[in-house]
């Protein structure tokens, strides 16, 4: 609140008017961007599921819902509703035999398992990062979301190497006399791979929430005689729950629509709905694809809506004071006698196997030749590509620069978009949950469908006044990335803003600050941890994005690191070998790791 209030000169009036307009204008801009690069493209695909020959129809949706392959036992609900009671009685008489719910049922089942696994693997990480002080804590926090940017083929390479029949895990188990663990091609490995991707989400979201818990409230609970456990249960946990549940929701939504990793590690036997959707798109059976996508979206958006209603009903805890101080992780002899620290040690070992193991395996694969010897051949390949004169060569350096450029652009755009939506969301009002759910839709719609939609609309373009209008190139890429990324900002910032004591901004406003001033000067600095986490996610989403990048890239030169990696997979100059791709994957890891550290360090300046 550096600006003197009550200023009456003309400049002041203009500034205040602009500040008042900033939020509504920001919202309008957000909606406009969303309409162009999300709702219109996705709508152009999904409309095919309910419109046949210009007329509204429920036919395609019903035919999927009543197909036992898709919905199992639930299919009779849609095929012959009259037979349901009789069927239920038969089932009861038969002694409740196990019931299956088809492809949708299995997809939801594996997503639920993956969510539980991600929460279990992610929350201790948040405890460690927010409650303990140790060397490299900030760097470790920055690096938690590294798995997010890894292309699935690289995760498959890492998992195969780490958990394979001859991988280090099995070698260790056999050496210890524990026997071999046949993890590949099972549901378990898919769940672990999903946890690899999503537990970091849990860690990062919950850490951001934990870091904004008001120390005074914990202290007063303790002063009134609460045990540490009760203080945690009654004061801390209620403040963590929204972020924990947000992370769980996002994990469920992502794993419900999981696609490449499922088939690469588990096999077709364990296919999800998204696998079927992709096959329909490949075969250009677009109406069927749209039908599956619509049903997926109904599931994910309903869950999002239900969650948002829950979140809005939470009593505002009123945080905003100084955070609880961290304890040193290593504390002499007490370290080994403290159950919490011992637990964290065990957790560290597990994290080493699940998170570090696959990434280290990929890095190792990038320096291992086909005969198992150490080689730098794959990095020489990258250098050769860089200096090659041939047209159409994919060079690593432009890929790195494009990735950084798009990532930075996405971050700068997604932060304001996300904050604007958060402000609208925390304000409440009739229908605002529905609006918020719809604004979160970029997270809840199949990536295959978003890509298809972008292709049909922005890439193919439309004819206006005799001119063909298309929207591709770097700006379109950044817009598409920002739309995919801003919900992460929102999901980080909304719970944090909602947790703030409303009296803080009320006080600022009663002193004459505009809504924008109160936001910028009072509220946002208090939720800086959540903002930084959101920024890191936005950057990660952009760097890891593949589908819309390749579609919207103009010509062959707007490629990013994942696109280069994909092209190196197909490059046969060193034989059909994943070596060059793993080398590029290692570069991708290094570049994004450095970027995350920079984002956290820069953003950290505003953290309390």
């Amino acid at each position: 609140m550096g600006r003197p209030v009550g200023q009456t000169d003309r400049l002041g009036v203009v500034v205040r008017a602009a500040e008042r307009l900033a939020l509504p204008a920001g919202l309008a801009l957000t909606l406009a961007v969303l309409a162009v690069v999300f709702y219109y493209p996705v709508g152009s695909v999904l409309v095919e599921s309910v419109v046949r020959a210009g007329r509204l129809t429920a036919g395609p949706l019903l035919s999927v819902l009543s197909d036992p392959f898709y919905t199992g036992a639930a299919s009779s609900l849609f095929a012959e509703p009259g037979s349901v009671p009789g069927g239920f009685v038969t089932w009861l008489r038969a002694g409740l035999p196990p019931v299956t719910f088809g492809l949708f049922g299995f997809t939801a089942y594996q997503a639920a398992l993956s969510t539980v696994a991600s929460v279990l693997l992610g929350s201790p990480g948040a405890y460690l990062l927010s409650r303990f002080e140790f060397r490299g804590r900030r760097t470790l926090r920055s690096l938690t979301i590294l798995p997010f940017v890894l292309p699935s083929i690289m995760v498959a390479v890492g998992f195969l190497a780490m958990f394979g029949r001859n991988g280090p895990l099995n070698t260790a188990l056999v050496t210890l006399g524990l026997g071999r663990l046949d993890l590949l091609f099972t549901l378990e490995v898919i769940v672990v791979a999903h946890a690899f991707y999503n537990a970091p989400l849990v860690t990062r979201l919950v850490t951001a929430a934990w870091e904004t818990v008001d120390a005074r409230r914990v202290e007063s609970a303790r002063a009134m005689g609460a045990t540490p456990f009760r203080a945690f249960r009654d004061v801390v946990l209620p403040q963590l729950l929204p972020s924990l549940l947000t992370a769980a929701l996002l994990t469920f939504v992502f794993t419900f629509m999981s696609f490449p990793i499922v088939l690469a590690l588990g096999g077709l036997r364990l296919a999800t709905v998204e696998v079927w959707l992709f096959a329909r798109v490949q075969n250009l059976e677009l109406a069927e694809a749209a039908t599956l996508a619509t049903l997926e979206t109904v599931v994910t958006l309903s869950l999002t809506y239900l969650y948002l209603r829950y979140e809005a009903r939470q009593v505002r805890a009123g945080s905003g004071g100084a955070p609880v101080p961290r304890r040193p992780l290593l504390d002499g002899l007490r370290t080994v006698r403290d159950p919490a620290r011992l637990g964290l040690l065990a957790y560290g070992l597990l994290a080493l196997v699940v998170f570090v193991g696959p990434m280290a395996s990929m890095v190792l694969a990038s320096v291992t030749g086909p005969d198992g010897s150490l080689t730098l051949e794959y990095y020489r390949f990258l250098v050769d590509q860089q200096v090659a004169e041939t047209a159409g060569t994919t060079r690593p350096l432009p890929a790195i620069l494009n990735s950084l450029l798009f990532g930075a652009g996405t971050l700068l755009l997604a932060l304001p978009l996300g904050v604007v939506v958060s402000v609208v969301a925390t304000r409440g009002g009739r229908g605002s949950r529905v609006a918020e759910a719809l604004l979160t839709a970029p997270l809840a719609v199949s990536g295959v469908v978003v890509g298809l939609g972008l292709l049909q609309t922005l890439v193919f373009g439309t004819t206006l006044f005799g001119h063909r209008l298309t929207a591709t190139g770097p700006v379109a890429i950044v817009l598409a990335h920002a739309v995919a990324a801003y919900p992460f900002v929102t999901r980080n910032v909304t719970p944090a803003l909602g947790g703030l004591d409303p009296r803080l901004s009320d006080a600022a406003r009663s002193l004459g600050a505009t809504r924008l001033r109160a936001l910028l000067d009072v509220e946002l600095p208090l939720v800086a941890a959540a903002l930084v986490a959101g920024a890191a996610f936005a950057f990660a989403i952009s760097v890891g994005e593949f589908d819309s990048t390749v579609l919207l890239a103009e010509g062959v030169d707007s490629y990013t690191m994942p696109v280069a990696l994909e092209r190196y997979i197909g490059n046969r100059s060193l034989g059909p070998n994943l070596g060059p791709a793993t080398a590029m994957g290692t570069v991708l890891l290094a570049v994004t790791a450095a970027s995350f550290v920079v984002i956290d360090r820069v953003g950290g300046r505003w953290e309390p």
């Binding site: 029949r165 088939l263 690469a264 992709f278 005969d371 373009g461 579609l551 062959v556 046969r572 100059s573």
Partner: protein, 383 residues
Amino acid sequence: MERREFLKRAGAGVGGLTLLAGCTGTGTDETGGGTPTATRSATPDEGGRTATPTGRPTTSAPSGTLNVATYSSFTGEGTAGNWLKSAFEERYPEVTVEFSTPENGVNQFIQRKRQSAPIEADLYVGLNTGELVRVDERLDEPLFATVRDSVEGADTVKEGLRIDPDGRAIPYDTGYISLVYDENEVENPGTFDALLEPRYEGDLITQNAQQSDPGLAFLLWTIIAKGEDGYLDYWSALADNGVRVLSDWEPAYNAYLNGEAPMVVSYSTDQVYYHGEGVDMSRHQVGFLNDQGYANPEAMAAFADSDRTDLARRFMEFVLTPEAQAEIAVRNVQFPAVEGVDPGEEFSKYAYEPPEPVTFTYDDLAGNVGTWVDQWARQIVSG
């Protein structure tokens, strides 16, 4: 580095750019019943084969830019695509060849056509039979032009590889699907029935026919072997014997190399990549089943909407010349499509041709392939 040197050595054998002489059969003059492209009399001459279609004014030396849409591994340093580009541009100095590599392949153009969006490419390179069927099932308007009778050398393509009854898609190379196995772990099963034996339990990795070319080819091969009425039962038994169906070639082959299973569905040119000093070839054994291998020809086709059809035709003719065929075979690691081309000793030594190549024709696949794949995939998931 072995492969680079191998390329140089193989390339050295093909001296210069000899003209297509002696291969120009007059068979190209057969009248295509009612096809829009007029039949042309092939009159190769010293100046670079400026053959002219009858009824058209004599064209001068061709010029302009030819936009070739293809898959990404066809272009770039050392690839068949880049060799073709430089050799073609050398032959026609006024011509520039540009490649574009749409991520979703030919689907991009089917969708463009469906929505009346412009198609800037003149030629598509890398079309297989199933995709051609899809083109026709999804479009009423022609996407590709009929060129068979106007492209010189189209009649030299091996009989068994001519996939398009309408003469639009001209094959330029082919792969054969086979097993690759580790002879330290298993014997060559030799037949489809042997794969069901307990000794091969959990030993085979293949790919999802919904999204993978070799996966689809292997599925189609089982339909040839077991019939349309028998293949689902066969796959049911195969699934009981622990077959793994992974997403695509890379994860499947990578899992094989990691020792997760001793057999993988791949290509019979496997050893061309892997031979060399110190490489253990016992892990790169090629096994055919029932003495067959499923041919997966790759074809090229000219877009009907292109206004550079003449240039596209010349490019296709060039691709079918023996020297280009040999280069494509070596650089793309596929067999030549044209009869009697020798890709060189090194290639022939390590690339195996099945005793009996089999493949489904366009007419076999049309109206069937979608159902076959869908039923198969549903069974794998439900089974």
